[in-house]
Symmetry: C2
């Protein structure tokens, strides 16, 4: 089956967590809006020919299914591509970790958009500065510390133990993105989460991921995405 991934072209954004899974799996997919424009994506979101209209991108067309929400897409892809256990208990656990990633990603977004997505960053800079201060001092250590504990508890080297899951691919993306957005703060923070940094390194070194990161399919981080580098926020 050839998957169709629909996401805003020009940014990694939330779509990147799905791209990493498709790339690691060596899956056959088209990044539809990048290759063909956003017309079809907008029509599908408006419900045209879709019984299960998404609230927002990313969404994945898999045969007749149209699946939205990153964690839901990964729930679908995981067991099919060896990126999650097939038994229910293991599937729920990896999904639970991914939903915690979802929560964290929303807070990352809010570092530059604490008031409204409809406003420019420039129109909410004082609030962004205040939000990000708490975010870096309280939230990043709490989330990354949690994932570090999960790796330690499982015995590692991955989140759930010896086998890589899609949640580990998301750990790579979190570490890479936080390094891009907050290089000064991350230098300090990542010293306390060595196991998580090792997951990042192991994922980056996997052949399919390495090839992907070196390809033009990997969109560079930029200031339109989720992870943005505004030096004034990197306290």
């Amino acid at each position: 089956m050839r998957y169709e991934l629909y996401y805003w072209p020009g940014i990694q954004g939330r779509g990147e967590f799905v791209r990493l899974a498709l790339e690691e799996a060596g899956a056959n997919y088209v990044d539809a809006a990048r290759e063909r424009g956003t017309g079809a994506m907008m029509r599908m979101m408006a419900g045209e020919g879709v019984k299960t209209p998404p609230f927002a991108p990313p969404f994945l067309k898999a045969g007749k299914l149209v699946i939205a929400q990153v964690a839901n897409i990964l729930l679908y892809l995981g067991p099919r591509h060896g990126l999650a256990p097939k038994p229910e208990a293991g599937r729920l656990w990896v999904h639970q970790l991914q939903l915690t990633v979802t929560d964290f990603v929303k807070e990352i977004h809010d570092t530059h958009h604490p008031i409204a997505s409809s406003l420019y960053y420039e129109d909410q800079k004082p609030e962004a500065k205040r939000f990000t201060g708490h975010y870096i001092e309280e939230r990043v250590p709490k989330y990354l510390g949690y994932f570090e504990t999960v790796i330690r508890t499982s015995g590692g080297p991955f989140l759930t133990g010896r086998r890589l899951t899609y949640a580990d691919l998301s750990m790579f993306q979190l570490v890479a993105g936080l390094r891009y957005a907050f290089p000064k703060a991350m230098t300090r923070i990542e010293k306390k989460v060595p196991r998580l940094v090792e997951v990042h390194d192991r994922v980056a070194a996997r052949p399919n991921i390495r090839r992907y990161l070196e390809s033009e399919r990997r969109i560079p981080f930029n200031e339109s995405g989720i992870f943005r580098h505004y030096p004034e926020l990197d306290g």
Copy 2:
């Protein structure tokens, strides 16, 4: 099986979306922290005797499983209690809707805590006012309008058609909570989402839910929960 639900006592909060499902199902459960205090909950979150430690409440103990994240708990409970279809396509669709509820609930929380959960509302009032202005004008109509469209597309009367799912129970809670928090704004907004209001009314009239709402198990809305009534925010 007797489920154990772990959530902060004293508030509906995110736990309420799980309580509504357990109550509608007539499931055997104990609201553990309310009946026994938060000691066990805190120990489980610290990983004591739990291989899959939660990042945060609510979580559900179901036999040997410990499942966190509201949507993940409902993913587990749904097909077991007739609150979601068993076939994969239907399960993913209901879950997708629930994940959109998760996103919305985070934004509801941010109306009173736009800067940091660690601060009191009183310490972020100007930001809360600004956030909530955009929230009421842009986000509530967008989310509720989306759910209205989903009901219209399915043919109703529920989100996915003729059968109630756990996502409909969450619709009840969203409408009830928004009415509590923003009565003035909701009077205006809900005129545009009659199908959603009908879902609220149908859920409220179900025998198990009606008995629950009249019982002491239903904690009243209050200003420690997710939905808070601060008149100055109800623009």
